[in-house]
Symmetry: C2
Subunit: 269 residues, 2 copies
């Protein structure tokens, strides 16, 4: 979607969970995981027994600048070793097995991770190998499983996509952006009085040109025009533009009326 932002700008923000990739197979995926981590504000990556060894140049090539995350990544022989210093460990698991375990949604997990990290405890999120997923011993090292609500008819989720969803939920768990706003830049949303001024101007010109000449229908026609112009949350700048549009359209008609009679009526429809 956009170019590189440069690795230099990525840095830890407070106490965020560690991402643990268990027996990852493809270096491309490890790079894409680092990029997704950077997107969502996760910075510490640990690898358990990566299949092709470590480091792998392809990871850096696929990280789009999230180099710092790869540079500081550590390699561990076992899951137990990778999580030894952590206090709370969740494991992503698309199809939970027959075990007794808490199961969280991604959003529920993000809220709990925020709560854990806010207590200055260290948390981790385990992601299994591309094909097989985590095994039963891996899951026995974890406090809870995370299962994403996704289309049950097509659960095949790429490893970096799985990390992206958790990283995104981690970030949005403390995000306060309003769901919808109007980006107005130099202008601002118009007041009711400003809108009323424009509608008054428009109606005067519509009366003058004969558009509202049917007097029994006039009140309803004016209301319908009001309904339309109220729907779009006009800005002050846009109302000035619309004033100009009405003025210029009317001026053309008036000049024509003053200078000459048109040769023929304007085309209909």
């Amino acid at each position: 979607m956009t170019g590189r932002d440069g690795g230099a700008e990525i840095g830890p923000i407070g106490n965020s969970p560690v991402v643990v990739l268990v027996r990852p197979q493809l270096a491309d995926n490890i790079g894409a995981v680092a990029r997704a981590m950077g997107n969502g504000g996760l910075f510490e990556l640990r690898l358990v027994a990566p299949r092709d060894g470590w480091p792998q140049e392809r990871a850096w090539r696929n990280a789009s600048g999230a180099d710092r995350i790869l540079d500081s990544c550590t390699v561990h022989e076992t899951v137990a070793d990778a999580v030894a210093d952590l206090h709370r460990v969740f494991a992503t698991c698309p199809r939970p097995r027959h075990i007794v375990k808490p199961v969280l949604t991604a959003r529920g997990a993000a809220a709990e991770l925020r709560a854990v990290c806010g207590r200055d405890l260290r948390a981790g999120i385990l992601f299994g190998p591309e094909r097989a997923g985590l095994d039963n011993d891996d899951m026995a090292c974890c406090d809870a499983l995370i299962r994403y609500p996704l289309n049950p008819a097509f659960m095949s989720l790429n490893l970096a996509q799985a990390v992206m969803i958790m990283a995104y939920e981690w970030w949005t768990a403390e995000d306060t952006t309003v769901p919808r706003r109007l980006m107005t830049n130099e202008t601002r949303v118009a007041t009711k009085k400003e809108l009323e001024n424009f509608l008054g101007h428009l109606v005067v010109e519509l009366d003058a040109c004969g558009f509202l000449a049917n007097l029994p229908k006039r009140p309803g026609m004016v209301r319908n025009i009001r309904h339309f112009f109220l729907r779009g949350e006009a800005t002050e700048q846009e109302l000035r533009t619309l004033h100009g549009v009405v003025t210029e359209l009317a001026r053309g008609r008036r000049q024509r009326g003053r200078d000459e009679k048109p040769a023929a009526p304007p085309p209909q429809g």
Copy 2:
């Protein structure tokens, strides 16, 4: 994370938004987009002027079975053509330009898309090219922009990751999974009475072995043990296991006490 689920199972679920990729560059990404769409329950893909033409075999190879989405994908010359039959069109835009436009979060957009599609209107979501993003004319074709809340220090988002986040939000917008549940399979969460039975059994054995021999401290010690066993939401099966653990540990001590005196006290610490 898991293997293929097979393309045969993917199919439209109700009226879902169309995904429009504008001037996409890499066939790999188009395939990964199809896979992410399938994960999140989006099924209709349109391409506007794909750089390397269409179809591209690499897309199918990278779609992990989301073949149906690629098979039915259509190609269009312009954005206007691709959205001509739609009623509401949103455009993802990581860095909105100086235009007056509503800006939605991904979650806000998903809620509005659900509302639009619920009215039997057709909606679309535009995603720009990998490097440059959408241009100003593309955005002028859209009703609103979508901007994901993500780490502002590292916004470089892969195209398929961008689609994954919207597809995930689309799916979760109507998902009702509880944020945390206990997966218990054949067993169930224990009642307070079942827990009380176990704690009673434990305290009897702890009295018998002398662990609670310090009578002034006994009430506090019993309460602390209660606090621990209450924290974990035990299942009925787990309490039966714990009854067995206590019984067997106690039996060993009793047999030793009956048959012989131990040669030495057990090691401390």
